[in-house]
Amino acid sequence: MLKNSRLQLHIPRPPARPGETPDFSYVDLQPAGACRRPPTDEAESRMRDLPFGLVRVLDDDGSAVGPWAPELGDEHLKRGLRAMVLTRIFDDRMFKCHRQGKTSFFMKSTGEEALGAAPSMVLGMEDMCFPTYRVVSYLMARDYPLADLVNQIFSNAADPLKGRQLPILYSARRYGFYSLSGNLGSRFGHAVGWAMASAYMEDDKIALAYVGEGTTAEGDFHEALTFASVFHAPVILAITNNQWAISSFQGTAGGQETTFAACSLGYGIPGLRVDGNDFLAVHAATAWAAERARSNLGATLIEFVTYRAAGHSTSDDPTRYRPSDEPRHWPLGDPIARLKNHMIRRGFWSEEEHAALEAECDRQVREAVKAGEEIGTLGKSKPGVEEMFECVYKVPDWRLIRQRQELGV
């Protein structure tokens, strides 16, 4: 019966703010191995349970269980672990560099290292990744030169992007890594276009695009899904749900109403919800989606459930908006620790080898930073000022030529 009630505007509220007890009971967890793995050519209409499941492979003991457990060789896993460890050490080092005034800006991906590393090892060099700023592990897994990252971050004379772009907004075409931008979400549709171009050319390349869960609110996300659906674009569309978008919890983007993976349902695209801190699950889910894309079966939407363990950026202090001990309560653990335990359990890795790996990555990062510092940090060295006027157009017009003359460079 309809009561004579007055309407109330609903404003979502996160489970815990500073001073309150962290509460992740809203994260719908399922045991490792529980989620079924349909064949990649299953009809979308018969996979509509998957967006509400959770693909997990690594159980609490570090064993790989269930139908999604991929068969990956020891060396492959060592490479994956290395990419993640390198990423974490690099992040920590560059964050410090920012505090020392060597760069203007930096963002870490602590806790999310599997999200770039594993897909990078699934996709080929010819495929194209349309990254967010939080998947540098994609480049780490491809041995992108650390020096180029450092020089870009320092905006120095050796910056591959010529000082024009904000730190960490890399571009690395030869590594299958599309140009980043500060504008959220605006490349999601480019991935679909790239994938459609591959299909148009009857090539075999596919695309992978990332978007933060906060950014799924942008129109770009929904437009991209529509085009991916309508044209069966060979693309993997990945949502990194790290629970926070700066100070806004995932419910601000609709996460209290349904899962992000379930956005797929309205577009008739298969959707997977995946433990993003489980390297093996991320690998397996990406491989499944890649197989669909390469078999001309079209797009897949994947939600990686993860947690942003560090602040949003060097400008951010997360204790102002979430409990300071929240990271410790995150139920899906740490991707590096989990893969490491698994490898130790399988018998081809040890604490000693892990410590040696960390030391080796640390040495490499230090060397790269030192080399970058020798060229110069922000403000101490920069590309020639004439670079400011280049690349606006392929060929500068009279305005740029005159302005360059006016500045005397």
């Binding site: 505007l9 800006f105 120095n156 772009q165 904000l166 504008n183 129109g219 400008s315 740029l400 500045l407």
Partner: protein, 339 residues
Amino acid sequence: MPAMNMIQAINSALDVMLERDPRVLIFGEDVGYFGGVFRATDGLMEKHGAKRCFDTPISEGGIIATAIGMGAYGLRPVAEIQFADYILPAYDQLVSEAARLRYRSGGEFWSPITVRSPYGGGIFGGQTHSASPEALFAHVSGLKTVIPSSPYDAKGLLISAIEDDDPVIFLEPKRIYNGPFDGRQGIPLKPWSTHAASAVPEGHYTVPLGKANVVRPGQGVTVLAYGTMVHVCLAAVDDVGADAEVIDLRSIVPLDIDTVVQSVRKTGRCVIVHEASRFSGFGAELSALVQEECFYHLQAPIERVTGWDTPYPHAFEWDYFPGPQRVSAAIRRCVEARP
């Protein structure tokens, strides 16, 4: 009277309006619990409740569309776009909807919304945290575009914007949030408290939209600026020792054409300064107007000092930024020119 910096003055304007008018509400990315990435809405959610000041999804188009719908219903929404660079996903809503709703509905519906957004460079924000998009709005009939240059003006203009029945784009020069930065490098930033315009009344007051401020009277040359550039121009005038009249436009639409014309007819010389790039920048409009209205009084070609016609480059921030040196040179050229 309390001394406020520009953020505190904006916060105070919002607080006053939330208090006075239950139809006013504030929303945008991270503006609620956190109080905004520049802290402009700090404490407002706690004080006035989550319904009055809340976080939105990250969707600038959604934020403005929602504001327009609320405004049409009769509310007075104040939306924040976190950086002016990110207003573009909402451009269609602003241009095709907010600006034209009154016109196309024969006055049945209108859009009394205010869109606040930090703009401009000088913080090493690179090409996506530095833009000055004012000309994109000035070109659109039906929108008003307001740019304060001091705490006092920020509060008074923002209250006028919120009370205005038309859509107002309120661009906040973020480089001067904490002090009147004048473009001079390597010297510590003076805090606002050392500046007269940091004396901001606690309660309600307005600074009318469309009334420019002669911040420095003079006879020899008129300098037109707004936002951060007002302070850069004052520094440049000091450097040159020119008898310049510096006019802070405060709002570019509506534009205080009378003050501009009176001044240029008096001085016969005009320098126009903005941080946005030059070609089709707002300076082009000012230059055209001055030429149309003051042609027979002009003693020298009108000078424009602007950002270059490139995106805002990270490492070359201070090569791009039209600082006091470039402004001084233009003032000198303009003052020394002889027909």
